[in-house]
Structures are given as structure tokens and as C-alpha cells.
């Protein structure tokens, strides 16, 4: 079966202009050669620090930005060769949820007009009455009430606004939703609600998610597979369980050990990342992570590591990973347990809410 989405060699270089005449003095390589695929109904999480290019990947996949290079095949069709109007028609099948629900809803449009718009644009509701009915249905799907259609976005709280954004994405019954940090602007208690809503909607309608996030606890809860990005490249990809159990790339290991602990007295050795993420305008030669890697070797400064799949679907862009000490010794036992406990608690909260709701 061919995957729903297949991305190959995707790259986006933003020109940097300097001076009065706007000469291009360099390029920010926000995304620099990214490959991944996504099956129907699957959830792929893209994680990484801010500035690693994960949000840009989301926009490139939807062609909200034009890629510099690469291909995006959706259901076997290359999106990048489509005309403007051809792409507009395809947007019915792929939607987006943005990070900040205070910015992503038009403040001068009622909820009803906002949710009715995609229906009208894609010819999904021909009469005013069917459109209104569908808008009411969408509002109920995301836990709001049909009479909210008359209101304006500013009358809703952050969590409710994100529900509205989800309803807008859902309106056209897409096969793919790109969720760009959909909960990181929300309170922790609201995050759980929204994540659960997204999961239950996925169970019901079977769309695939690309879930862009920097929060590993959230990602662990929703993703089937995870791709870890660093400076415009994917450094490791594996199923969620495998990645958390068996992180290989030094960067992934550092990220996992940086998940905060609820117990401040719990001792653990942290594989801390030192220094800042280098500039994407002038990325380090060789392995891009070598400037911060605790296992750096001489060859890392020269050779560009390829993302190599070991056959099980776990791919790592580091040829040296088998020689590193096991991850467990990096994050001392207690710390690892604390992580587990925290995640278990989080999941327990999710599970109870789901059973109570159903």
C-alpha cells in the first residue's frame, strides 16, 4: 500500500537580504533535505527545539510555503507541480491547526461564517440550511454548542478557540491534518482536553496527523511514530515506543533526558545540551550536531551522516550509535522511573477522562 503522504528531499532556504538594495547575502536553511512518509490514519510527530525547522516542514507539506527543493506526494500525486487553483481544490483533503488560537481565528468573522466558509468553498453545503446544520454538527463534535455559531472568537477562551480551530480543520473531512504545536499555547489542564479531543476525532474519522511539537510528554501520548529534527534535518525516526525505550541519536537522548521531572529532589545525570542551536544560515559542516554532541569524534566534523534505517523502521543519522553507552546509564534509574511515573500519571488522567466521557 502506498503511503498517504510521502516527502522526499524537502528543503526550504529563505534568502537573507541585506542593505538598501536588498542583495541576497545568504540563505537560512530552515529545512534542508527531509524525508518521511505517513500512512492513512497514522500520527507522525515531528519534535525538536525551536528553530529546527519543524513548523516550516508543516507549512511546506501543505504548500503554504513553496519548497526550494524536494517532492511532496499526497495519495500518489505530486503536490508541488499543481497549479494555484489545483492546489486550492486539494486543500479539502489536508488541513492545518495553528499554535496560537488567539491569532489563527479571524476576529471579525462569526464562528458560523468561519466554519461555513470551507463548506462553501469546496461545495460541501449547497444550501444555507444544510450549511447551518453542518456548522452546528461541527461545533458539537468539538464539544461546543450550535448556538455558539453566532458569536465572535474573542468571546471564547483559549481552549475553546483551539476547539474552533479544530472544527474548522475538520469541516471538510480531511485525510490529513497538520497540527503545528496545537497545545503549546494552552494551559496544561486544557492541553489534555484538546489532545484527547484530537485523538477521539481521529478514532472517529480516521484522518492522519502530523503533530509538530517540542513537548515529548504530549507527543508520547498521541504519536504512532516520531521524527526528531535538528537544524533542518531529521536525525532519528522510530515508532514512539521504540524511540522512548531505545533512543539512539545523541540528540534524541539529550532531548529525552531534558523532560522535566515533577520531583525536584530526584537525582539523575542529565545528558544536558550545551550551548545554543547553531545558526541555520551557516550550519556546521559534517554532522550538524557535532558542536554540541557529547560523543563527538573527529570524523563527525567532516562526514555528513545519512539517516540509516536498521530494517525495523528505526532510522538514525549517526553511524556511531551502537558504540555509545546504553541510554539507561545516561539517565540514572530514578530519573527514568520518574519519567515513567509522570507519563503514566498523564496517561491515567487521559484514560479516565475518556472512559468517563464515553
Amino acid at each position: 500500500m502506498s503511503p498517504l503522504l510521502e516527502v522526499q528531499g524537502l528543503a526550504k532556504h529563505f534568502p537573507v537580504k541585506r542593505g538598501a538594495f536588498g542583495f541576497v547575502s545568504g540563505h537560512v536553511r530552515a529545512v534542508d533535505g527531509v524525508d518521511f512518509h505517513l500512512g492513512a490514519g497514522e500520527t507522525l510527530a515531528i519534535v525538536g527545539e525551536s528553530g529546527c525547522g519543524k513548523s516550516t516542514v508543516g507549512r511546506l507539506v501543505l504548500r503554504l510555503l513553496e519548497p526550494t527543493a524536494g517532492s511532496v506526494r499526497f495519495d500518489g500525486e505530486d503536490l508541488l507541480v499543481l497549479s494555484e487553483s489545483g492546489m486550492r481544490a486539494r486543500r479539502q483533503r489536508m488541513q492545518v491547526i495553528f499554535q496560537d488560537p488567539y491569532a489563527s481565528l479571524n476576529p471579525r468573522m462569526t464562528v458560523g461564517a468561519m466554519l461555513g466558509e470551507p463548506l462553501m468553498l469546496h461545495g460541501l453545503a449547497t444550501s444555507e440550511a444544510t450549511r447551518r446544520a453542518r456548522v452546528g454538527e461541527l461545533l458539537e463534535l468539538v464539544g461546543l454548542r450550535p448556538e455558539h455559531a453566532r458569536r465572535y472568537p474573542h468571546e471564547f477562551s483559549g481552549g475553546q478557540r483551539q476547539r474552533l480551530a479544530i472544527a474548522r480543520a475538520l469541516a471538510v473531512e480531511p485525510q490529513l491534518i497538520v497540527a503545528d504545536e496545537p497545545v503549546s499555547a494552552l494551559d496544561v489542564s486544557i492541553q489534555a482536553q484538546v489532545i484527547n479531543l484530537m485523538r477521539s476525532l481521529q478514532d472517529r474519522f480516521g484522518m492522519a496527523y502530523i503533530f509538530i511539537s517540542h513537548d515529548l510528554a504530549v507527543v508520547k501520548h498521541i504519536a504512532d511514530r516520531i521524527a526528531v529534527m535538528y537544524l533542518g534535518k531529521i536525525v532519528e525516526t522510530a515508532t514512539t515506543d521504540e524511540l522512548f525505550r531505545n533512543p539512539r541519536h545523541p540528540y534524541t537522548r539529550a532531548l529525552l533526558s531534558a523532560v522535566p521531572l515533577p520531583d525536584p529532589t530526584a537525582a539523575r545525570e542529565r545528558a544536558l545540551l550545551e550551548g545554543d542551536i547553531p545558526s541555520a544560515m551557516n550550519p556546521p559542516a559534517g554532522c550538524r550536531f557535532h558542536t554540541r554532541c557529547r560523543f563527538v569524534r573527529e570524523s563527525c566534523r567532516v562526514d555528513v551522516p545519512a539517516l540509516a534505517d536498521d530494517g525495523s523502521g528505526h532510522a538514525t543519522a549517526c553511524p556511531w550509535w551502537p558504540e555509545f553507552p546504553p541510554a539507561r546509564s545516561l539517565t540514572e534509574g530514578s530519573g527514568q522511573d520518574q519519567d515513567r511515573i509522570r507519563l503514566a500519571r498523564l496517561q491515567a488522567a487521559f484514560v479516565t477522562t475518556q472512559t468517563e466521557a464515553s
Binding site: 501543505l62 487553483s85 481544490a89 479571524n106 471579525r108 458569536r151 475553546q160 482536553q193 477521539s200 466521557a357
Partner: protein
């Protein structure tokens, strides 16, 4: 715990159903200056519309028995050099002044907003071209350009309106362009694209409604400027043609009698001052009421 209410009973938003315009109106009402401006503007508009009913005399009827009479019970604001009633001429002159203000700003909006939207939204060479034209027009002082255009078009009130309208257009192009560029990068505009809106619909349905407030403020201030410009053009003989009254042309004829009949100059000047002040107060109040940063 709020999480237990999932997924069908999210907490309900507080019950204040109010659209953005109703909210702006509520805030505007609290501002004394703005409400004063609004009342005076409405008063002027009503007087101008009902001029035939409220004017005590025919504004162009001359009377040799009442030349340059000071204010009296018969002529509240006095009479001019050919015995016309100043109050009646002020009332009829309000028509010329207000319509000059509204029509010329209407012309400026009709051309400036679409062109500014185009320049800001399309960007690239279209923006560069339009912006340079705007820069060139703005390099010439407002009144000089209006006078030049009015002289070129020929002296009449409608030509004066057109001249003022064209002269006021670049400001609206520039303002609309800037606001459009700012709104274009908002998430909701990107969301509108992601939903599948064509560009024209994004520009008209998503960008334009969000940039109306600053345009409204600028329009109310521009009306004040246009009233002054009309008065100036009429003063110079390029606007309203005699014997039809206009505040500017009344000032023009009054200047020769400023020592003997100061009321001839005072009342039209006062009317201009009052109308301009009111539009400015209204504009300032609108700016505050429509600013989303004020709660």
C-alpha cells in the same frame, strides 16, 4: 477537574454576545469629546439636508435695503455686501462644505483602498510601482496639488471635490497598503489560505474587514481636511461659484469688509472651525474606541 468534562461539555463562554462594532460603539459612547463631535456632525448634516426648511431667507436673494447690516432680530447673523442673509448662506453653505468633505473622501476611499489592498497584498513590482507614484504625489503639498488640479479641471464645486479626492487618495493607498502588509502575515490569513480561499477572497473577506478601523479613523480626519481644502479652493474662486454660498467663498467676499462688517467673516470662519473640530474629535474618539489594545 475540568478534564473530566470531555468531550462534549466544554465550559461555556460568558454570555455577552457582542460583535466588534457594538463593542466599539459602547466604548465610543463613553468618550465625551467624541460624542460631542458626533452630535455636532449630525447636527450639521441635518441642517444641510433640511436647508430649504430651516433657512429663514433665500440664500441668494439680494436686498439693497439691507446691505452689511449687523446681526439683528431680522437677520440673526447679519447680512452681507449685497444684503443676503448670512445665516441662510451658512446653512446652505453647509451643503457645499459637508458634501465636499464626504464626496472627496469617498473618492479617495474608492480609489485608495482597492489600490492599497492590491499593492499590499500582491507585493512585488505592483507594490513598488504604486508606492513610487504615491511617494511622488505626497511630495507635493496637499493644498498646492489640490489647487493645481482644481485649476486644471476648471472652477466648479464638483471639480473641486474631484481635485480634493484625488489629492487625498495617496494617503489612503499608503495606509491601506501598510495595514494590509501587517494583516497579511497574521495566522488567520494563512489559515484562510489553508482552508482553500482564493486570493481575492482572502483580500476582501479576511484582510479588508480587519483593516477597516484605521481607515475609518483616517477618513473622519480626512473629511476635516477636505472641508478646509474646499473652503480654501472656494476662497480662491476655484470651488463653489457665486452666487451659490459656500463657507470658503463667503470668507473670500468678507475679507474686503473685515473692518466694516466683521460678522461677515466671523460666522463662516466659525462654521468651518466648528465642523473641522467636530470631525477631528470624532476621529480621535474612533481611534481610541476601535483600538483593540484598549479594553
Amino acid at each position: 477537574m475540568t478534564a473530566t468534562t470531555l468531550p462534549n461539555a466544554a465550559p461555556v463562554a460568558d454570555a455577552r454576545e457582542e460583535n466588534p462594532w457594538a463593542r466599539a460603539w459602547r466604548r465610543l459612547r463613553r468618550r465625551k469629546g467624541a460624542m460631542f463631535g458626533l452630535v455636532v456632525v449630525l447636527l450639521f448634516v441635518m441642517v444641510a439636508v433640511a436647508a430649504p426648511l430651516v433657512a429663514p431667507y433665500d440664500p441668494i436673494a439680494t436686498s439693497w435695503s439691507a446691505v452689511r447690516k449687523p446681526p439683528s432680530w431680522a437677520h440673526w447673523l447679519g447680512t452681507d455686501e449685497v444684503g443676503r442673509d448670512v445665516l441662510s448662506r451658512i446653512i446652505w453653505g453647509a451643503r457645499a462644505s459637508l458634501s465636499a468633505g464626504l464626496v472627496s473622501v469617498g473618492i479617495a476611499l474608492a480609489f485608495g483602498v482597492p489600490l492599497g489592498l492590491l499593492a499590499g497584498y500582491a507585493g512585488g513590482w505592483i507594490d513598488a510601482l504604486l508606492s513610487r507614484i504615491v511617494d511622488a504625489m505626497l511630495a507635493v503639498p496637499f493644498l498646492i496639488l489640490a489647487i493645481a488640479l482644481a485649476a486644471f479641471l476648471g472652477p466648479s464645486l464638483s471639480n473641486a471635490m474631484i481635485a480634493i479626492g484625488i489629492t487625498a487618495t495617496p494617503v489612503f493607498i499608503r495606509l491601506t497598503r501598510g495595514q494590509t502588509i501587517a494583516a497579511k502575515v497574521e495566522d488567520y490569513v494563512e489559515a484562510a489560505r489553508a482552508v482553500g480561499n482564493p486570493h481575492w477572497r482572502i483580500a476582501l473577506r479576511h484582510v479588508l474587514p480587519n483593516i477597516v478601523p484605521p481607515l475609518l479613523v483616517q477618513a473622519s480626519l480626512a473629511i476635516a481636511g477636505a472641508i478646509i481644502a474646499e473652503a480654501a479652493l472656494s476662497f480662491l474662486g476655484l470651488g463653489q461659484q457665486p452666487p451659490s454660498p459656500s463657507w470658503g467663498s463667503m470668507l473670500n467676499s468678507a475679507q474686503r469688509f473685515i473692518a466694516q462688517a466683521p460678522w461677515m467673516a466671523f460666522w463662516p470662519g466659525f462654521a468651518i472651525f466648528f465642523a473641522v473640530l467636530s470631525f477631528n474629535l470624532l476621529g480621535d474618539g474612533l481611534r481610541d474606541a476601535l483600538d483593540p489594545r484598549h479594553k
